[in-house]
Symmetry: C2
Subunit: 156 residues, 2 copies
Amino acid sequence: MKAFQDYYPEELSHCYGCGSQNPQGHQLKSYWDGDTTVAWFTPEAYHTAIPGYVYGGLIASLIDCHGTGTAAAAAYRAAQRDMGSEPALRFVTASITVDYLAPTPMGEELELRGEVLEIGERKVITQIEVKAAGKACARGIVIAVKMPAGMLPAKN
Amino acid sequence: MKAFQDYYPEELSHCYGCGSQNPQGHQLKSYWDGDTTVAWFTPEAYHTAIPGYVYGGLIASLIDCHGTGTAAAAAYRAAQRDMGSEPALRFVTASITVDYLAPTPMGEELELRGEVLEIGERKVITQIEVKAAGKACARGIVIAVKMPAGMLPAKN
């Protein structure tokens, strides 16, 4: 199964959170699961906050990338287009809110579940829930907008 | 000048974003500047989003740590206590919102400015602005709460 991020064009695959071309990054991978989206990530030992718990900034980062990935996938679906087809639909984050519901324990694989709350031509709003060992630890809202043309890097 | 984070007790200094005891982390340092707080951070080349721009998850992480640091410093000030004095006042993030105002260019030192919007016994709300080359790129609101006693690790 190919992840959303594996369809991103090479020049847009350097994101620290989810770019397949960023060896130092988190390389998050997001997938459809029916009408929701899902991603998994196991934090490293150094991704700590208070010892024993996962760093909230990492959780926000994962929510961010799963949110923009879900936005792109949902935009392709709405347009009845394959994710690999050109022109690429790529979204950037306009705003993110994360509520930390409970301390996130270390040593667990985190599950991120995404849901599309609103989809328009230019803007997609998603809700992402993060669970550890089956318990909801954080919930985020990501407002993603189509990447401005001026941000697009030149193709190699 | 000693940073807020350098007053955190050793057992609370492992945070990936700002812990002095986390060699793999960002080691953000926050300071008072009159009634506002300030921190600086230069992203690494791999902290990229779209090439040429800084990863939004990193920006959220810096806002998070500068927000909780500002909350702690403000709580000590409100109590007219030195930051090194016991018992330690340490805050964790209950909620964070980040609005990305403009793409953040790579290759610039980022300046974070913090302002206390609300301070209570248990909860401190701060606003953090992130500037690159003098231009505001992101603005965050961090709702920080006193660390629950149950999260406190044992002292070494």
